[in-house]
């Protein structure tokens, strides 16, 4: 499984990847993008199986990335990992087709809970 981690913070991308390794998830590789616009290119070129994206980023926000993917007919599995946790944000994410939203700060348990339905 190829997982694309999208976040403008290099520190957070490293933490997300480290946390993925602490879950029971096996046989995965990670690729990275710095924002939504870069992620669109990476998705087209490398065709990941899952996108884990931040919400607030320069150039293109995570929600814009998701909407562009769905508008283009791309049904890739997509989840948000973000400090945004309001009901409005959760609803917007769900309406746009996100499978889950994990709130920062997170633990490997919250990752497992979000990812397990997708990986079953």
């Amino acid at each position: 499984m190829k997982i694309l981690v999208v976040d403008d913070s290099k520190a957070m991308r490293m933490i997300v990847i480290r946390t993925l390794k602490q879950t029971g998830l096996a046989n995965f590789q990670t690729i990275e993008a710095n924002n939504g616009a870069e992620a669109l290119t990476v998705i087209a070129d490398q065709k990941p199986d899952l996108v884990l994206s931040d919400w607030n980023m320069p150039e293109m926000k995570g929600i814009e990335l998701l909407k562009k993917l769905r508008e283009a007919g791309n049904t890739i599995r997509f989840g948000f990992i973000t400090s945004e946790s309001s009901p409005e944000v959760r609803k917007e994410a769900e309406d746009a087709g996100a499978a889950f939203l994990v709130t920062k700060p997170f633990t490997s348990n919250s990752f497992e809970a979000a990812l397990s339905p997708l990986l079953a």
Binding site: D8, S9, K10, A11, M12, M14, I15, R18, N56, M57, P58, T82, S83, E84, S85, S86, E88, T103, K104, P105, F106, T107
Partner: protein, 150 residues
Amino acid sequence: MSIDAQTLQQVVNDVCSGMLGLDMVPTDQACCDETDAVSAVIRISGGWDSLVQVLAPRTTAKIIASTMFATEEAALSEEEIRDAVGEIVNMVGGNLKGIVEGESSLSLPCVGNTGGEPPFGADFVGITVAHNCQGDPLIVRLLDKSAIPG
């Protein structure tokens, strides 16, 4: 719901201790050497208008960055140190925004060296909480602009 000092302290603790595993001890000593500190500010606007600042003396900023990047402090670049402190204020701000009712938006963090200038000025009237983070100070300020009359 408005944010009080206890809630702010809890959010900071959740981010730094709960997620990063840093040893966080609340303290009443809300001061640090601001002439060599990293300051990260984020704005929440809309239904709730506020500013959140994380102020980390360089020693604390390096501890945080070293933990986030899982590397030795000596190997950290200035960009990585700023990135780490910026992500702390991003998480604190996002969580506070989630607590307060109403639709608001979160800015991107603005991170820099303080150069001794307090970003909120001498007449700051918001909430300040301080921790010893692995033994070094970490200060977080919240300015609830909607609570200021006029």
